[in-house]
């Protein structure tokens, strides 16, 4: 028995492939027809082939469980998610617009603070943020880019409009899975690539290297770029090793680097000390340099901040960029776009309530059962309250937390996240998903073609994080006119 799309019901949510039972979207017709041509058995065989490929390619992520670190195979759904190229071009422009404004904002904060003086963003909010780093004041990273690598999470509502859910400006991860997902899909459904005009995504690695190299203080043909990892126990170690290997750079740990008396950064190789120009660091600010931040950090490099401030090394992302990666500051991004660029935001924010504003806070407290409450500075989906799925006790706990520290919380209405057909057990069912494109800003700007689609594998669930039962899909940007 093969798939009958008449049995597939998106239940009123916006579905990426099927507009209503039996009616695939125009862009998805080749795919849905092809899937229908496969018997159930064949479809499940393909899924198995994908699992084997993922194991053989060693695509893993690390979870910390029962006191041990376990490498798990990357959970992947073989049915791709499709976005029309013309829609993507608009979205892509919106993402570039957003990162441009965010970098102008960060640069302003560490220099003249015009936006605070003009009271567009409350000064207190920024200066008291735990991600504001006075140590960064007066520094001017190349091209005014503080967040050179950004992962922005997008979701669609029930009408299919894209909204920005959050901007990840510290050490966003996931791009290696975006690239590996495509390789797996090519192995599993090679025939589909013949009949579609799917935009390739593989240039990300070159673009990343180009962006990083453009930051080098020394103008060399081949500056020394390294990837700095906290080590094997980090959940994204696979990605760190992957990116280093793909770019042909060294994967270094803190103790591999040393800052000399000349305030330059060197790595320890068997051939002696070798100067490093650009550090793509995948370590949080606070662990970066024990001389300046957490003195107990063994992951970082003593003197790294000194070398950076002297302009002898580039750090990506720059320390202090995280100040704009705060769920409360997030609500001001549309204002920033207006303020710095005099443009309207091309992609809207999800409507949000700030608990620091008395009237909004009262609304939040009165409607906890309907809202999603997020702490300002957590990532990975931790520390959130999902109102409609919460117990009375959880809501009471959150009400206390909010009253105690209103600055630290914001709330959003529960979104009707879009869905896409996903293999669940032996059937195909709708599952909710989001999208994380990656945006690079150095000498030039670059937006990935699509991004990493994360899917909540549990029925009805909205939590897409891989540490909490999420999976992923390949994301296709398809050119329509040419077909």
């Amino acid at each position: 028995m093969s798939i009958n799309w008449k049995d597939y019901d998106p239940n009123g949510f916006y579905d990426e492939l099927i507009s209503s039972p039996g009616h695939p979207r125009k862009i998805a017709r080749t795919l849905t027809k092809y899937l229908q041509s496969l018997s159930q058995e064949e479809l499940l065989n393909r899924r198995e082939a994908a699992e084997i490929a993922i194991k053989a390619m060693g695509i893993t992520f690390t979870v910390y469980s029962e006191g041990k670190n376990i490498d798990r195979a990357w959970p992947f759904d073989i049915i791709p998610r499709i976005i029309p190229a013309n829609e993507w071009r608009k979205t892509s422009a919106g993402l570039a617009q957003r990162l441009t404004a965010l970098n102008l904002f960060i640069d302003d904060l560490y220099h003249d603070q015009k936006i605070l003086k003009d009271k567009v963003v409350p000064a207190e909010l920024v200066l008291k943020s735990k991600n504001y780093r006075p140590e960064c004041e007066g520094i001017s990273p190349a091209f005014g880019a503080w967040a050179q690598i950004c992962g922005t999470d997008l979701v669609r509502d029930e009408k299919g409009t894209f909204y920005v859910l959050e901007d990840n400006l510290r050490v966003p991860s996931g791009v290696s899975y975006m690239l590996e997902n495509r390789k797996v899909t090519k192995r599993v459904f090679p025939e589909l690539f013949e009949h579609h005009n799917i935009h390739p995504i593989g240039s990300y690695i070159d673009q990343l290297y180009k962006t990083l190299a453009s930051l080098s203080p020394r103008k060399l043909e081949f500056p020394e770029v390294v990837v700095l990892t906290p080590g094997i126990y980090n959940s994204a170690y696979f990605e760190h090793a992957f990116l280093a290997q793909q770019m042909g750079c060294e994967l270094v740990e803190g103790p591999d680097l040393v800052v000399g008396d000349d305030d330059c950064v060197y790595m320890r190789t068997i051939y002696g000390l070798k100067q490093v120009d650009v550090v793509y660091r995948r370590i949080d600010d606070l662990f970066l340099d024990p001389e300046v931040f957490n003195p107990d950090s063994v992951l970082g490099v003593p003197g790294l901040m000194r070398a950076w401030r002297k302009g002898n090394v580039a750090l990506a992302n720059a320390p202090g960029a995280g100040v704009a990666d705060d769920k409360v500051i997030y609500t001001y991004v549309p204002d920033m776009i207006k303020y710095y660029l005099d443009e309207d935001p091309l992609i809207p924010n999800v409507p949000s309530y700030l608990c620091m504003e008395k009237s909004q806070c009262d609304h939040v407290l009165a409607n906890l059962h309907k809202l999603v409450v997020k702490p300002a500075n957590e990532s990975g989906g931790y520390g959130m309250l999902i109102g409609p799925k919460s117990t009375k006790k959880e809501r009471e706990t959150f009400a206390q937390l909010i009253k105690k520290n209103p600055r630290n919380y914001m709330a959003q209405p529960t979104l009707s996240l879009s869905t896409s057909p996903t293999i669940c057990g032996n059937n195909i069912e709708p599952r909710h998903l989001d999208l994380r494109p990656f945006i690079l800003q150095g000498e030039d700007m670059y937006v990935t073609m699509g991004g990493l689609t994360r899917v909540a594998l549990r029925k009805g669930s909205l939590v897409v994080n891989s540490s909490q039962g999420g999976g992923s899909k390949d994301t296709w940007i398809i050119e329509t006119e040419a077909s």
């Binding site: 094997i232 290997q245 060294e250 994967l251 320890r268 068997i270 002696g272």
Partner: protein, 317 residues
């Protein structure tokens, strides 16, 4: 190559070699003991001291019998030289340098680790122990074969090889030392009866008996065995062969001068000894001195390539 990566790869090579040789030593020591008459002074409790774990062993175990010694040397979690720990350390080093190694390297070491975790306890019976030891030896050999058959001769290969050779040389001297130590324990009468078996056993422990007969064609005695295991330039477990191997691997490494010097010093030390007269205590002391030479070589390797750019403070830490 990063110094840290080189160091981890070097230790991965050493630990695997250590696991293999410890397994060999136990396997053959058992054979020797079975051949000796009941009530002989040769006991299992000599092995921990030869493996540098005498103090820890006597503190942790009340019974110094075969079972305790085997448990200590094979699976004791507190003894850093146990076969299990050697494999765990080798795996940890491989895990953090995967991007420099062929995929099979990691897979083989991981499978060896899983085998040791899942295998029935080797101290349950002599039969289980023997199967366990054979499997460990075979898997380590498989790893050596894979690396030499499939790796580009680059920095990574150099450091695996250097680690393997220095550990192999060191373990050869320890295995010879079991002979010297047994001889010390024996009465004159027993020694004259069993000396020949003792040296056959030493060759056997290194899997060298057949090679000895093929190359030396002479009867097996102490001097001939010492010459073979220390000075032979063609047998891969002899100390000189291992040292030649290290010299070959370091040729293309930068700043190898100090290591070269340490190697020459060690070779000279062995060459100028009068092997015919060395036995019992003198032989034991001589082997100890060679091991100190190896430590010195290791120190020079570490200083030349692993400790690049460390401050004095960091080095002392």
């Amino acid at each position: 190559m990063l110094s840290r990566v080189a160091e981890r790869i070097y230790w991965m090579g050493r630990y695997l070699e250590r696991a293999e040789n410890t397994a060999r030593l136990i396997n053959v020591y058992a054979n020797l003991i079975f051949d000796l008459p009941k009530g002989s002074p040769i006991n299992w409790d000599m092995l921990p001291s030869i493996m540098g774990g005498k103090k820890l062993f006597s503190e942790t175990y009340s019974n110094f019998d075969e079972k305790s010694v085997c448990k200590f040397l094979l699976i004791d979690a507190d003894f850093s030289g146990s076969v299990m720990n050697s494999v765990i350390y080798a795996r940890e080093n491989a895990r953090t340098t995967r991007e420099e190694l062929p995929n099979e390297a990691w897979e083989m070491i991981n499978e060896l680790y899983l085998f040791i975790q899942d295998a029935p306890s080797p101290t349950q019976s002599r039969n289980k122990r023997s199967l366990f030891l054979d499997e460990v030896i075979a898997r380590c050999q498989e790893f050596s074969g894979m690396t030499s058959g499939s790796m580009t001769r680059d920095d990574a290969y150099n450091f695996i090889k250097i680690g393997r050779e220095i550990e192999r040389a060191d373990m050869t001297t320890r295995i010879i030392d079991t002979g010297a130590t047994c001889a010390m324990e024996m009465s004159e009468e027993m020694y004259s009866t069993y000396e020949h078996s003792l040296w056959v056993y030493i060759l056997d422990a290194l899997g060298a008996e057949q090679m000895f007969r093929k190359i030396i064609r002479d009867r097996i005695d102490r001097k001939a065995v010492l010459e073979f295991l220390l000075l032979n330039r063609f047998y891969p477990r002899s100390v000189f062969y291992c040292l030649d191997g290290i010299e070959h691997e370091i040729q293309n490494l930068p700043g190898n001068h100090e290591v070269q010097r340490a190697m020459s010093h060690c070779k000279l030390h062995i060459k100028k000894a009068d092997l015919a007269t060395l036995e019992k205590m003198e032989l034991h002391d001589f082997l100890d001195a060679i091991q100190l030479n190896f430590n010195h070589i290791h120190q020079q390797i570490s200083d030349s390539w692993f400790q690049i750019g460390l401050t004095d403070q960091e080095q002392s830490a």
